[in-house]
Amino acid sequence: MKGLLFERNIPRIAASRVMSKLTHSGKGVAIGPLRLTDIDEPVLPGPHWVRVKPILAGICGSDLSLLDGKGSRYYESMVSFPFVPGHEVVGTVEERGTDGNVVQKRVVVEPVLTCVTRGIDPPCPACAAGDTGQCSGITTGHLHPGLMTGYCADTGGGWSTAGLVAHETQIHTVPNTMDDTDAVMVEPVACAIHAALSVPTEPETLVGVIGSGTLGLTVVAALREFTATGRIVAAAKYPHQRQLAMQLGADAAPGPDGFAREIRRTRHSTVVGKSLPAGADVIFDCVGSQATLEQALSVLRPGGRAVLVGMGYRTAVDLAPLWHRELAIQGSYTYGTETLHGKRVRTFDLAIDLASRLELGRLVSAAYPLERYEDAVEHAAGAGSRGAVKIVFDLQRKIGHGSSQHA
């Protein structure tokens, strides 16, 4: 069985970093620490664990950051090497049917490796409260360190035909009516829902979303479906992103140059320096770069809040506007349990509902076999400019071989 293995090879990590800087994101994978190799099935860590055979596994922005060698050293102690990446997974588990025969059940994996999965009892306060994304046990317990499946040496990951192992609390049944492509979107959609619900919004709330890749688009959809947010302005660089943003609930989808103008115009704000005295109430930064974070701070109203949804890394940002205008920056990482209409609901349950209802599989633009992982990564890194959104690996060759499916 084949899989993509990421090893802790410092020279190769450095080489991929240099290459991606000199050329562009995704180009460093060929000389980086990721390699296609024969892989054995991971060992089941305990009695409540099952094997998951991936059908589709997505390539996430955090994966690209890792492959470009751009990841922050902050995460070093939270992963264990070597690991098989891939945490956006729809796959199958074997289950004995009522007639005693073994049947394949489709599942999506909630990859966060919580206290329960690690055999930590009692669980940490965050896990006990259902806020599993904030679990403090990610480096302890009977598993090697790992933020989540796809970054842990013990669990395997989605980028492998050998599959992965998942604790029974990590798997969610995929409804029969749901496509595989919709299902592979559940994990990023859960991230988006968690972000969207992390800030209270009202019909008068003006929200800006920076970035219209997978995260940005699904944040727009989540805001529209699960919150009372009034006007949503999504910065979309490419025409297909603009079209999708509007379809998913944005009220305006200007290009990056027009984003601040649109926010300003909506609030009829003046401009002081580069800041808007009457800007947006909330900005979701779904890119996480220095430029986008600075843009977020410049278009927020005084007292406004920026939510960092895109993966954060070491960067330099002028915090003067944050101080002077009493802005807030908050992170938004993964998911857990949300409070919706006064009830506590698992984010993954909401995500399965949303991905299915809005057929978010339409964001899956192309599927590649593992053998073409270099092409796949490069495609994912340049998705926007190539008219694509989400690129996935097709582990069971159900969709096709590297051709665009939905773009």
Binding site: P254, G258, R261, E262, R264, R265, H268, S269, T270, V271
Partner: protein, 529 residues
């Protein structure tokens, strides 16, 4: 010898290619023979031999019921001298500017009369503030240095609540609110340059020194579709409204002494003289000038080309000066404008073609953005007629211009939003008015207008209203060589070549259509029978 009048050339097989302006450049196009004609403007009129003497004569012998200026000046008075802004003339004329010549004489007389309270006032209306260089060019260094350092050279601010005064409301319900300094002066002298028949008359004060609250009553889609055309005062609702307001201003006690000037159409200096000449009369030097300049322009970047063209100063000269009572003055001015610009044309055409140059009244030293392209073609040039439009109802206008999706962010900030928000929703001049108030009252646009060099937030709406008559009249508008996305955003059809455009136009006007090309600039006014 008198300058030659305008000329309508019937194109045959021997007709050489005709010059089309193409923004910051030009090219030659072959028009289909036997069904095309080219309208050439009259040659530039002879200038006044002694313009200073003529100005003095006009001030001493005013028209209408006005007293000579000298008798209106006295030591204790408040005197305000308003003047047209940077939108006139086009291109900017070689120094000394007509405004300088007139204002120097007025100031001299004021000094002789012992007038001490004198203020100069640029009549911006809702246009952008002029720069120091532009003011120096219009007024001359002597006048600028004498007034500006002392705070006596002002630019009208249509959004200054303390600087405006509401005089009242006309019997048509139009609020008349104008510049307070001008309205409360003992005498308001207005110094005008009349480039097109729309300019001057009561419009000078009623629009040039008015607020948005006042201007909105006539700068709207209704007025424009009821002006056939707004260049023809007797058939222009724009003028009717301005005349009502102007008379109201007079009846409110504001004493206006109007000075209007006309210029000849010497639009280009000698190195570009071929641009003024009819193609079959081009000399070898003209041909060499055309080809050399075309090649050189092609090698330049956009910014360099723009800088080059906007640095051109026209060797225009005064052809008339008239002063006194507004209406009497303006009647005389119109006669002089028509003497220079009117061309008699028999019948309408199926297709009107025009090459649009690099400049319009609203992009002096700036970018001709797509909205201004539309306004120049459909607002100005389409409306340069008396009688009937040059193109028949249901006909097609073909314009040539690169129409870049580009804006000057300093001069035209609200244009960008208008283009991206309003025109993305609708290009119907009536429908766009639902957005007008938000743009007109936007505090940021107001701040940029008042303190920077930005056109008022509402200005792009006016540019689009200017097109209303043409949009209603035509079946299609085609732009050759434009940015396709920008052209489509305007609601027009993009074409790559003149042949393609003519073929596309046949969808609307049938096969073998008649074609009329207006060879501007210099400007002309068609009298269509």
């Amino acid at each position: 010898m008198s300058p030659r009048p305008g000329y309508v050339l019937e194109v045959d097989r021997s007709t050489p290619p005709v010059l089309f302006w193409n923004g910051e450049g030009y090219l030659l196009e072959k028009l289909p023979p036997e069904r095309s004609r080219v309208i050439y403007p009259p040659d530039p009129l002879h200038p006044l031999e002694d313009p200073i003497a003529k100005i003095r004569h006009a001030l001493d012998h005013p028209m209408g019921d006005s007293q000579p200026l000298e008798t209106l000046l006295h030591p204790d008075m408040r005197l305000t001298i308003a003047f047209d802004d940077v939108s006139l003339p086009l291109p900017a004329m070689q120094a000394p500017d007509a405004r300088q010549l007139v204002i120097e004489q007025v100031l001299e007389m004021a000094a002789e009369a012992g007038v001490e309270d004198v203020v100069l006032l640029a009549a911006l209306s809702l246009h952008r503030r002029m720069t120091e260089a532009e003011l120096r060019h219009a007024l001359g260094n002597r006048v600028y240095n004498a007034f500006e350092p002392h705070g006596l050279l002002l630019q009208h601010d249509a959004e200054d609540p303390d600087g405006l005064i509401l005089l009242g409301t006309t019997d048509h319900g139009e609020e008349v609110e104008i510049n307070r300094r001008a309205a409360t002066s003992d005498l308001l002298v207005y110094v005008n340059i009349n480039l097109v028949p729309m300019d001057g008359g009561h419009k000078s004060v009623a629009t040039g020194l008015a607020s948005y609250r006042s201007v909105r009553h006539h700068h709207n889609a209704h007025t424009m579709t009821h002006s056939r055309s707004f260049m023809d005062m007797d058939h222009s609702e724009l003028h009717s409204a301005n005349w009502r307001m102007g008379r109201f201003i007079r009846e409110s006690g504001v004493k206006v002494f109007q000075i209007e000037t006309t210029l000849n159409t010497n639009a280009f200096p000698s190195q570009f003289s071929f641009l003024q000449r009819r193609e079959w009369e081009w000399t070898p030097r003209d041909r060499a000038g055309f080809f050399a300049s075309s090649k050189a322009l092609a090698l330049m970047g956009d910014r360099t080309r723009r800088t080059l063209f906007h640095s051109i100063k026209a060797p225009m000269q005064l052809t008339s000066v008239q002063a006194g009572e507004v209406e009497a003055v303006h009647q005389s001015t119109l006669t002089n404008v028509f003497d220079q610009q009117l061309v008699h044309v028999d019948g309408q055409t199926d297709i009107l073609t025009m090459g649009l140059p690099y400049i319009s009244p609203y992009n002096v030293n700036s970018i001709m953005n797509p909205i201004l392209v539309a306004c120049l073609g459909l607002g100005y040039l389409f409306n340069m007629y008396r009688g009937k439009p040059l193109v028949r109802e249901g006909g097609v206008v073909i314009m040539r211009h690169p129409t870049p999706w580009a804006f000057n962010t300093t001069h035209h900030p609200s244009y960008i939003d208008f283009f991206e928000e309003v025109l993305a929703d609708t290009t119907d001049p009536v429908q766009i008015s639902k957005y007008e108030e938000a743009y007109a009252t936007d505090p940021w646009y107001i701040q940029l207008y008042r303190t920077g060099h930005a056109y008022h937030g509402v200005h792009p709406f006016y540019m689009w209203y200017w097109c209303a008559h043409a949009l209603e009249h035509l079946s299609s508008v085609i732009v050759i060589g434009g940015d396709r996305r920008a052209v489509k955003r305007l609601g027009f059809r993009p074409a790559s070549t003149l042949d393609d455009a003519l073929e596309m136009a046949e969808d609307s006007v049938g096969s073998q259509p008649t074609i009329t090309h207006i060879r501007v600039p210099p400007l002309m006014m068609a009298e269509v029978s």
